[in-house]
Symmetry: C2
Subunit: 386 residues, 2 copies
DNA sequence: GCAGATTCGCTGTAGTCGGCAACAAATCGA
DNA sequence: TCGATTTGTTGCCGACTACAGCGAATCTGC
């Protein structure tokens, strides 16, 4: 995250970045607290905050009425006037959000559209952003646009290599968006950006080593955070758990011959066993929890066996501090969290399971928008007074 | 690796560390080259190198006779007088090496001993190091001791949680070694340190995302390097591929019911199929390569199927730039590297396989000693003029 | 209600560090 | 032998944080 400062001027950039990142990711806090957490001198923090205020990136509010002796320290909060746009094109709609520094969603729109192509997405985003600029976000500073794509995204240039759901292949969405809006654009994999959001503002807050798995209608996506950094791999395609060969201990548990994890641990199979038609996650959760049929019970048990085996492997290889499950994977776990977690632990080395926590995703539908917007903030966070 | 410099004094520490790390990991190079590679100013490099020379950490040699115009630039090389001790306790011996800054092994000793306990290892190391200090390493500066243990090592304090081979459990080897020798001690997992060595001085040189898997008599160990950093996980136990549930597609391929990867992909099974008795890797390699029996051919094919599936999963999840195989895993691959690599690629997403290279380990028996010693150098590299 | 204690913001000074420019040194080519 | 080129060296400058001293704001005890 932080690059090293090899020059004296770079020190200020590093320190400005640290202060801004702190109030953005960890919330408003007093100058005194910032001084303690950064280890910087009071006068230095004063100077840094002053510059950030002058740049309009943070605001200083009157001190918290803490019942403590001493002169009260003003609270430094990220400015709500600095926003980034998060975009999530999906098979049936394009979701767009305006996220302020600090992680709060200020605006949010869902535009239904069947399997949009790049041009359609750009058009929709341009229209929505133009409307916001003249209205709800008038006077705001839009720092960038982050796009969360359900597919493989090349890290080096943001080209969407393959998004099966949208039927995009080698699609450049960043270029047209920049042209249309004149704002910096960042493109990323949806699960990776979801992991980012959960790590910064959700269940995995403050954890440095996180495995995030999300189960959606189209499959299983994942994100990986190690040493506090989002892991992309050499091309940026890391995290594709859904495409791994499932380790199915009992041959009777296998449904798809030669299939991959998302063929076995599969939302559609769960829906079918529940006898539902196109339920959302809330309905599916209810069906699984309340008086399930024998077939549904067997199917959930089967999927849980395979999923826990996969997670056990992940624990052995990565030794994460936390596993975060989203979508129908959380539903599978919530059926009996204790048994589920115990099974994962049983399949892992005792030492590796010691530091492990398993949790359902905390952020709701905003997750992808927040993650995408945060990625768009990255440039600002790295060098606040560019 | 590099921490951020939040203070002006820290800038020098960072830059000193960068220069020393460069000549240590990437080899001797002229001041002019260092200037180009670091982006620092000539005068700054001059100052930094001068300090490192004064501290005895690097030496300046007369310039390379390059046939180029201009004033020749002296070559900066790591001082061979600065060494770290690498230690590798194994089931039948303790191996000890003295590794100089730059990565060259200066001394090396193998002390045969049956299943040594901690006290025995400490005694042996103390004896060997005392001998070196009075002889071969007289006048050398011993910066630290690195111990590569075949087992789980807690990152926070270096305690060996469990080393099945040595039958160590919750063993503190760092404390007694420090007491006996008065030198800083670092303890790490053998495979992780092997990965470190391969990344810095071996096959994975200069790659940022590396999966390393080593197959030994006792099982399969692994190390993981992502974003150029060794991945430890929250407790430091990451990389235990051998204990993962193998994904065996064909039930007929399974040998150990409910077994883990190292039960299926197993050196002993290979040895048995070859009809050998306690061969070393060279003998095993020859047996596998030259006119193998039908049983041996079937066994290698079976193990290759399972291993390639595991590696395919690793590629999908981690998208590494390189997979490095050591020990009998390299033997399995070398039987037909092209087919092996092709199979791994086939099991991975096309995009993830694009940037992938697969290779046998390049460093021989010195690997663990070099990795352990490099870990012991870490403190010096982070802050050269402590 | 007042005085002392405590915490913290503010200001001016000091020390450290890398960049820069000018000069000197060392090599090559003509 | 001279000019061109590259690089080490030196002194100066600008940038940045730490520090100390002072004043401001709040709490506690009497």
């Amino acid at each position: 995250m932080n690059e090293r400062a090899t020059t004296v001027e770079g020190v200020r950039r590093t320190n400005l970045a640290e202060v801004l990142r702190l109030v953005h990711h960890s919330g408003p806090r007093s100058r005194a607290v910032i001084t303690g957490e950064t280890g910087l001198n009071r006068s230095t923090v004063s100077d840094l905050v002053g510059r950030l205020v002058q740049a309009g990136l943070v605001e200083e509010h009157e001190p918290d009425p803490t019942r403590r002796v001493g002169r009260p320290s003003p609270v430094v909060a990220p400015s709500p006037g600095v926003v980034a746009i998060g975009v999530n094109p999906e098979i049936d709609a394009v979701e767009i959000g305006a996220v302020a520094l600090g992680g709060s969603v200020r605006e949010r729109v869902r535009v239904p559209v069947e399997q949009p192509d790049v041009a359609t997405v750009v058009e929709i985003v341009a229209g929505v952003v133009a409307g916001w600029r003249g209205g709800a976000l008038a006077g705001c500073r839009i720092e960038g646009i982050g796009v969360a794509v359900p597919g493989l995204v090349r890290a080096s240039d943001g080209v969407v290599r393959f998004a099966p759901h949208l039927q995009w292949r080698d699609a450049d969405i960043a270029g047209p968006l920049v042209t249309a809006l004149g704002i910096d654009v960042v493109v990323g994999n949806d699960a990776s950006l979801g992991a980012r959001a959960e790590r910064l503002f959700g269940a995995a807050r403050e954890h440095e080593d996180v495995v995030y798995l999300n189960g959606g209608a189209s499959g299983i996506g994942g994100g990986l955070i190690l040493h506090g950094q989002l892991i992309g791999g050499v091309g940026g395609y890391a995290g594709e758990w859904g495409q791994t060969a499932a380790s199915v201990a009992d041959a009777a548990d296998r449904r798809a011959d030669g299939g991959v994890l998302e063929d076995e641990v599969n939302r559609a199979r769960l829906v079918q066993a529940a006898g539902l038609v196109a339920p959302d996650d809330t309905e599916l959760r209810a069906a699984v929890a309340e008086s399930p049929s024998e077939a549904l019970t067997a199917e959930t048990a089967r999927q849980r066996r395979i999923l826990t085996a996969t997670l056990g492997n992940a624990v052995n290889v990565l030794n994460p501090a936390m596993i975060v499950l989203g979508g129908f994977l959380a539903i599978l776990r919530d059926l009996d969290p204790q048994a589920f977690d115990g099974e994962v632990r049983r399949r892992a080395l005792a030492a590796s399971a010691e530091g492990l926590e398993i949790s359902a995703a905390a952020l709701g539908a905003d997750r992808l928008l927040i993650g995408a917007a945060d990625a768009a903030f990255e440039r600002l966070l790295a060098d606040p007074l560019s």
